[in-house]
Amino acid sequence: MTDHQHSTDRHPAEHAHPKGKEYLAIAVVLTVITAVEVAVFYIPAMHPVLVPVLLTLSTLKFALVAMFYMHLKFDHRLFSWLFVLPISLAVLVIIALMKLFGVF
């Protein structure tokens, strides 16, 4: 539902987006992290720490995409709040439900 009401909106605060090179660098980092994740999955020695390592790595990927590709790092803080608060709530709900159902 694209509403073209304010299609000419442009704002000074939103101009400082990074350049193509930085985008590419992020993509390389994301690829490397994904490769590490899959590697961790296949290395038996890593299995005792599999869950915390994977959760950390995927959170890192998540944060990189949100901060750089979705520009939260450069945009107004309000947008970050609109996204981070619901995400935190969702994570808390997931943890609470797992706890209530005795998953851990």
Binding site: T2, D3, H4, Q5, H6, S7, T8, D9, R10, H11, P12, A13, H17, K19, G20, Y23, L24, I26, A27, L30, T31, T34, E37, V38, V40, F41, Y42, L50, V51, L54, L55, L57, S58, K61, F62, V65, A66, F68, Y69, M70, H71, H76, R77, L78, F79, W81, L82, F83, L85, P86, I87, L89, A90, V91, V93, I94, L97, M98, F101, V103
Partner: protein
């Protein structure tokens, strides 16, 4: 919520807003916040029901990590092409915009195609939507993600059509940016799904 109502009359702004921020973009971030709760509930259900099945197939018997790693990589790369499309649009590069939009849409279609292939395979491995809990929670969660990707692909081709007709000039880069937010969101959801469902079995 530290939005002081400082009114900066932004240049080229037809409707000045209290925060100086675009209303459409704000609406879209609120929408993504809402989507977090949607996927959060789906993921919670998957995690709550994991390991309760008495009959197979179980996750480790069907999930194909190498194949899905490739899919995850494809979707990550589509996020790169998406920001490049936005950058091109912001620089008024019409051909770049159209090209990167098309690339993103094609990568998205590759992902959806991969999901169709994966679903078919799982189906023949005995994983049914109407079968065990793993079947129904897995198909519904990843199916909703796939639906989101499909909607994104349609959105991207729509923008592509506009771009090649020269209807996505610099001033309309917000249209591309918002589509991009959607696309990246679908990507980060897959980052979560890939870890929580595929890698942590």
């Amino acid at each position: 919520m530290a939005v002081a109502a400082a009114v900066h009359p932004a240049p080229h702004e037809e409707h000045p807003t209290s925060t100086g921020l675009s209303s459409r973009k704000m609406l879209f971030w609120a929408f993504l916040g809402s989507e977090c709760m949607f996927f959060g509930s789906l993921i919670a259900t998957y995690l709550v029901y994991r390991g309760r099945d008495t009959v197979g197939p179980h996750p480790h018997e069907v999930l194909n990590i190498p194949f899905t790693s490739f899919s995850a990589f494809v979707l990550l790369m589509s996020s790169l092409t998406m920001v490049l499309a936005l950058a091109a649009c912001q620089h008024g590069d019409r051909r770049g915009t159209a090209g990167w939009l098309a690339a993103t849409a094609l990568l998205g279609m590759t992902f959806v195609g991969g999901q169709c292939y994966e679903f078919t395979h799982f189906f023949y491995d005995g994983l049914k939507l109407q079968g065990n809990l793993f079947g129904c929670t897995f198909y519904v969660l990843t199916g909703f993600h796939g639906t989101h990707v499909t909607i994104g692909v349609i959105w991207l081709w729509t923008l592509f059509t506009l771009a090649i007709r020269g209807k996505l000039p610099q001033e309309k880069s917000l249209d591309v940016e918002i589509a991009g937010l959607y696309w990246h969101f679908v990507d980060v959801v897959w980052i979560a799904i890939f870890t929580l469902i595929y890698l942590i079995q």
